[in-house]
C-alpha cells in the first residue's frame, strides 16, 4: 500500500510537470491579454524539436533547449498575428495548433521516413527530476515576479488596461508579443519534457490535449501561477490514477479510465462559476 502511494505521488508529479510548464505559459500570456489557445501546438512542436535535435546531436540537454526555442517561435508567430495583424486570438491559436501538429507529422516522415512516431533518441536520464523540481520553482518565481516586480506590473497592466501602459510609454503590443513568446517557450519546455523526460521519442498526438488541460488549469487557478500549479497537480493526479488503478477496478475498462483527466478538467471548468474574473483586457485586441 505504501509503495503504491509513493508511486502514485511520484507519477502525479511527473504527469503534472508538463502541464505546469504549459499552464505557467498560459498565465503569462493571459495576464498580458492574449488567450493562448495555441499552447497545445507549441507543446507538440517543442516535443518534436527536442527529439530531432537530440537525435542529431545525441545530446538531450540541447534537445530540451531546442524544444524551448521551437515553442517560443510558435508563441512569437501567435503574438505577431494577434497584435500586429489583429487576427482573432482564438482563430490564430487554432491555426498554430494545426500548423504545429501537421508540421511535426510532416517532419516525422521527412526525417525518420515513417509516419506516426520518431526513432528512439537519447533522452534525459534521472536528470528529469531536475525539470520536475524546476517546474515548481518556476511557479513560485513567476508568482513573485508577477506580484512584486515592475516586470510583473507591466505584464498585468497590459492585460488589465493596455491604454494605461501605453500612456506610461510602453508599447502594449510589443509587451504582448514578448509575453506570448515567453508563454510559447514554457509550453515548448513542457512538450520537451514529455518527449525527452517521460519518453525518448515523439509520436503523433502525444500531447493529447495537455495544452487545453493547462488552459483549464489557468482558469481553475484564477490566472495565478500558484493556483494554476495546484490545478495541474490535481489533473496530474487523475492522469496518474489511471495507471495505478488499471486492472484494479474490474467494472471500469482501461480505455474509459483514460478519459478521467479530461472529465476532471470539464468538471473543474464548470465548478468555478461565480467568482472567477479574467484580466479585464484578456482576449481583447489592442
Amino acid at each position: 500500500m505504501a509503495v503504491l502511494l509513493i508511486s502514485l505521488v511520484a507519477l502525479t508529479l511527473i504527469k503534472a510537470t508538463p502541464l505546469i510548464y504549459a499552464a505557467l505559459g498560459g498565465v503569462i500570456s493571459e495576464r498580458s491579454g492574449v488567450i493562448n489557445i495555441g499552447l497545445e501546438g507549441m507543446m507538440a512542436i517543442g516535443a518534436f524539436a527536442a527529439v530531432v535535435i537530440s537525435y542529431y546531436t545525441r545530446e538531450p540537454a540541447l534537445g530540451i533547449l531546442a524544444g524551448i526555442g521551437a515553442g517560443a517561435l510558435g508563441g512569437y508567430v501567435l503574438g505577431i498575428a494577434a497584435t500586429r495583424f489583429k487576427v482573432d486570438q482564438i482563430v490564430a491559436g487554432t491555426g498554430i495548433n494545426l500548423i504545429c501538429a501537421g508540421g511535426a507529422a510532416y517532419g516525422l516522415v521527412l526525417i525518420y521516413n515513417q509516419p506516426g512516431a520518431s526513432a528512439q533518441v537519447p533522452a534525459l536520464g534521472r536528470e528529469y527530476w531536475v525539470l520536475v523540481a524546476l517546474a515548481f520553482v518556476a511557479a513560485a518565481a513567476l508568482h513573485w515576479l508577477l506580484a512584486r516586480t515592475p516586470w510583473g506590473l507591466r505584464i498585468r497592466a497590459c492585460g488589465e488596461n493596455p491604454a494605461a501602459l501605453a500612456s506610461a510609454g510602453i508599447d502594449p503590443l510589443a509587451m504582448r508579443v514578448y509575453a506570448v513568446t515567453l508563454s510559447g517557450a514554457l509550453a515548448g519546455l513542457g512538450g520537451a519534457f514529455l518527449s525527452l523526460g517521460e519518453l525518448n521519442l515523439y509520436s503523433d498526438g502525444m500531447t493529447a490535449g495537455r495544452g487545453f488541460i493547462a488552459l483549464a488549469a489557468v482558469i481553475f487557478g484564477r490566472w495565478n501561477p500558484l493556483g494554476a500549479t495546484f490545478a495541474c497537480i490535481a489533473f496530474g493526479l487523475f492522469e496518474a490514477l489511471q495507471y495505478v488503478l488499471q486492472g484494479r477496478i474490474a467494472w471500469l475498462p482501461a480505455d474509459a479510465m483514460q478519459a478521467l483527466p479530461y472529465i476532471a478538467a470539464l468538471v473543474a471548468l464548470a465548478g468555478i462559476t461565480g467568482k472567477v474574473r479574467a484580466p479585464a483586457a484578456d482576449g481583447v485586441p489592442y
Binding site: I99, F212, A256, L269
Partner: protein, 341 residues
Amino acid sequence: MTNMRRTLAGPLGAVVLLVVLMSLAMIVAGTSPLDGFSALFYGALGGRSQIGETLVATSALLFPALGIALAFRGGLFNIGAEGQLLIGALFAGAVGAQLHVAGPLGIALLLVLGAIGGGLWGAIAGWMKARFNANEIIATLMLNFVAAYVSLALVSGPLKGPLATGAETAWLDQAYWLPTLLPGTRLSIGILLALAVAVVLWWLFSRTIFGFELRAAGDAPEAARRAGIDIGRITWLSLALSGAISGVGGATIVTGELHRFNTQLSPGYGFTAIAVALVGDLQPLWICLAAFGFGILEAGGLAMQASAQVPKDAIHVIEGLIILVLAARRYVAARAETTAV
C-alpha cells in the same frame, strides 16, 4: 493595403496561397511541384473511383463544417466537431447493428439517432457555457477526448460485434445501408443530405428569427441581451444544433460508407472542418465549395504521399496557415466580448 488584404482574405486568395505553400512543401520533400500536383489531382479526380473518394471526403467534411459555422456565427468556438461526429456515428452504429424494422424507416431512424448523439454531445458544452460560463473552447475539446475513449471502451467491450476483430460494432444489415449515389464507388446519397443541410442553414441564417438572434448573439452579445434575446438559450441551442449536424455526418459515414462503427472512422474530419468553415467564410453555400476543395486535398493527399513521397501532413500545415492568414474577420469583434478564458 486594403485591396491586397481583401484579395488575400477572399477564397481566391486562399487557393493561391495554398498552391504556393503546397509547392514549397513538395520542394522541401524533394519532389517537383509538377509531379506533386499531378499525383494529387490524379489521386483526387483521375477517374470514377477517385472522384467517388473525393466526394466521400467532401461529404464527411461538409457536415461538421456546417455545424461549426452555425456555432461560430453565434460567437461560440466549437472545436468539438470531431467528438460530436464520433458520438453520432456511435449511436447510429450501436443501434444499427441491432435494428429490426423496415429499411427506409431504419435508415431515417439511424440518421436521427446520429443527430441526437452529436446534439447531446454539443449540448453538454452548451449547457456548461450557459449555466456555468465554462469556456466552450476547452469544454468542446475535452469532450473530443472523452468521446474517443468512451467509444473505444464501448466498442471494445459491450458493443463489440461478435465477429469483429478490432474495436468495432457488428455490420449493419444491408437494408440499412444508404443507397449508393455513384455506382462503382463508395459514395452514398449522404452527400445530398449534406447539401440539403447547407441549403437549410442558408435559409436559417438569412431568413429566420433564430438566424438573426444567432448573429446578434455572435456579433454583439451585450446589445443582443439588452434587446431581450435569451443568450443562454441561444448558447446551448446553437451548440446542440451544431453537434447534431456533425452527428448526422457521423451517422452517414456509418450507414453510407463503412456500414458499421469503428473508432478509426474519422481521420480528423472534425478539425479539418474548422478550416473548411473559415475558408467558406461561414456561408453555407461557400462552405460546400470549400468542402469540395478540401475533399480533393484529403483524397489526393494520400495519393500524393504514395506516389510522390510528399507527406500528406503537409496539408494540415497549410490548412493552419490559411486559417492564420484568413484571419476570420466576421466574428472578431464578438469573440473579444464573449470569451472569458
